[in-house]
């Protein structure tokens, strides 16, 4: 029983990583109705920016806030320059655009900061949390930040005019335009927010997986799995999905024989396919009803 509890705790700790990533994915899915395959690379780039700022002597929280602002602006710039012209294009073209963006960001980051693994500082320290060997203070901090982020997003979407406008623009663009919402800018705003959330995820993950241009590969797949499990239409579901995926991954590794490190990605695949087949809307998402 103790093994079980320990594994669940460890799962929650890793799950926090996936939850952050899934949250960023769901945000952009809400805003533009596409899954951004370059999301992980955008987060990686933001993390490198914050690392560079710290190398130049900016204190951690200063670099954190500055990176947040820069990522937000960066997300908007990418949308305005590259993806606004593609708004009316078929989904296929958009996916190709994401792939191109992925290649560009990965390669540029590799050129500027090269592919060696770098240490990344944590503001929370890495001593055991409340005497438990399984969760460090950093992981606890990560869970806390994810929760804060979720609450902030909930408040934003539920109680502010801007949040309402964004929701309207995403779900019924025509009607939203009729009541005077600038839907095109709402999409840009969605990109900015997704980039900012991604940068938070990146900065929280970096102390655990270390900083390098390919750090997001595995995390992104698990983020996808978490987002699908929780439902692509629900930020809350994404976070819960992240924790569930983390727990599931740890328990499967402990209790199913033959599942070691090498089977981690196939597990994510099995999870994605199962959820999509059994309940495509995810645990907390709403089923999409199509009007003919």
């Amino acid at each position: 029983m103790e093994l079980f509890t320990n594994q669940v705790l460890a799962g929650i700790a890793t799950g926090a990583i996936y939850a952050c990533m899934a949250l960023a994915l769901v945000m952009i899915y809400q805003a533009i109705d596409h899954l951004n395959f370059a999301q992980g690379e955008m987060a990686m780039f933001s993390t490198f920016v914050s690392w560079q700022l710290m190398q130049w002597g900016v204190p951690y929280w200063g670099a954190f806030l500055l990176t947040l602002a820069l990522s937000f602006a960066g997300g908007i710039v990418i949308e305005r320059l590259l993806f606004k012209p593609l708004a009316k294009a078929p989904i296929l073209t958009n996916v190709a655009g994401f792939i191109a963006l992925f290649a560009i960001i990965n390669s540029v980051a590799g050129l500027i900061w090269d592919f060696t693994i770098k240490q990344y500082p944590t503001p929370f320290g890495s001593s055991p949390f409340l005497g438990s060997q399984l969760i460090s203070t950093h992981q606890a901090g990560m869970i806390g930040v994810t929760m804060l982020l979720l609450i902030a997003l909930y408040v934003f979407f539920r109680f502010t005019r801007m949040g309402l406008a964004m929701r309207a623009a995403a779900s019924v663009p025509e009607s939203a335009r009729l009541v005077g919402i600038n839907t095109s800018w709402m999409i840009a705003l969605g990109w900015g927010m997704a980039a900012a959330i991604g940068s938070i995820a990146g900065m929280l993950i970096a102390p655990v997986v270390f900083l390098e241009p390919n750090m997001m590969g595995g995390v992104l797949i698990y983020g996808f799995a978490a987002a699908v499990l929780g439902g692509l239409t629900s930020p809350f579901g994404a976070v819960i999905g992240g924790f569930l995926v983390g727990i599931f991954e740890n328990l499967a590794g402990t209790y199913i024989p033959g599942v070691g490190n090498e089977l981690k990605l196939p597990i994510a695949l099995a999870l994605i396919v199962t959820v999509l087949v059994v309940k495509p809307a995810g645990l907390f998402g709403r089923p999409i009803v199509k009007r003919v």
């Binding site: 989904i91 792939i99 390669s107 996808f224 396919v273 999509l276 999409i288 009007r291």
Partner: protein, 338 residues
């Protein structure tokens, strides 16, 4: 966050391509064919090898084109089918001592079944969700191949070495050249098959599903059957391409079939023009040669150059090589008149 989507106003997943636009005219086809037959007589063995790979990737892109351009379904998981085909050929040749030419139909058949089965859950999904599921399939495939259970057959991380076949009947040509012509013959056969498939009743059913699924089912098209069938055919052709690729490269290893390959094939399709079968070879040339060119421009930035070129293609010629070909045809017509 209302969950009702207007089908009519939605951007389509894939733009409709008129059926007539799917192929080349007879004259152009014969010219291209003659070029493909004669070219290897004048170049070095390494270039012949590259041309073989051009045809192999061309086949794989063609397969994706049938799936996406024909029936409107996405796949970022073609590398998985390619890997299954490659491994089937390699295992049959090395463990069962089968003739290389006979392994290809087996590879195709196994991949057809695999694709048909994967098409079943994929039925529930469309657009982005399908891209996602196939994406996960592609990332998981290398790890599945490395599994301990199948290591005896697949050779695990080490992979398998495949012997290159000699030219039969004592023909006085090099192995590379023989393999090229062998690949060319298969490519032509599959190309003709695909063109006829898309012109047949099944092909029209694919396209009806692509353009409007509800209307198609109202007209009596068995949507589920044809969607899985498209997956199966596409996977089968990809499997043959994978088998040919394994014979040409003489080596299979899990890390040769990562998500990168799937993305390359996808990019090849976009560049060649979705739904335009001859464009497959253009797309294949793009994915083989452009990374080299990009590396030539800047070694460290090859990925970025590749991405920028891809963006240029999307913005300037969104219909890929098809658009270029149409413009060229138009200009030629003008020249003839004046």
């Amino acid at each position: 966050m209302s969950a009702v989507q207007e089908v009519v106003t939605d951007a389509p997943a894939v733009e409709a391509v008129p059926k007539r636009a799917l192929t080349l005219g007879i004259g152009t086809s014969l010219t291209v064919l003659a070029a493909l037959i004669l070219a290897p007589l004048f170049v070095k063995n390494f270039i012949i090898f590259q041309m073989t790979m051009l045809l192999v990737y061309g086949l794989a892109v063609l397969a994706l084109n049938i799936l996406t351009g024909g029936s409107g379904q996405f796949s970022l998981g073609q590398s998985a089918f390619y890997a299954v085909g490659a491994y089937t050929s390699a295992i049959l040749m090395e463990h069962a001592g089968m003739n290389y030419a006979l392994t290809l139909p087996v590879a195709g058949l196994i991949c057809f079944i695999f694709g048909f089965l994967f098409g079943q859950p994929a039925l529930r999904l469309s657009g982005v969700y399908l891209a996602l599921a196939t994406f996960a399939l592609a990332t998981a495939m290398p790890q599945l191949l490395k599994l301990g259970y199948v290591e005896h057959w697949t050779g695990g991380v080490q992979g398998l070495v495949v012997t290159k076949p000699d030219a039969p009947f004592g023909l006085p040509i090099s192995q590379d050249m023989w393999l090229y012509y062998f690949t060319l013959a298969i490519t032509i056969a599959i190309y003709v098959f695909s063109v006829n498939l898309l012109r047949s009743r099944s092909g029209r059913a694919f396209m009806a599903i692509r353009d409007n699924e509800i209307a198609a089912s109202a007209m009596g098209v068995d949507v589920a059957l044809y969607k899985t069938l498209a997956f199966g055919v596409s996977a089968g052709i990809t499997g043959v391409a994978g088998g040919l690729g394994a014979i040409a490269v003489q080596f299979v290893a899990p890390d040769g079939y990562t998500i990168t390959l799937a993305i390359q094939l996808f990019v090849g399709m976009v560049v060649g023009g979705v739904g335009w079968l001859p464009g497959s070879i253009v797309g294949s040339a793009f994915i083989i040669f452009v990374p080299n060119i990009a590396e030539g421009i800047s070694k460290g930035l090859s990925g970025a150059v590749f991405g920028v070129i891809l963006f240029l293609v999307i913005f300037l010629v969104p219909h890929g090589a098809r658009q270029v070909a149409l413009v060229a045809q138009h200009l030629l017509g003008k020249l003839k008149k004046s």
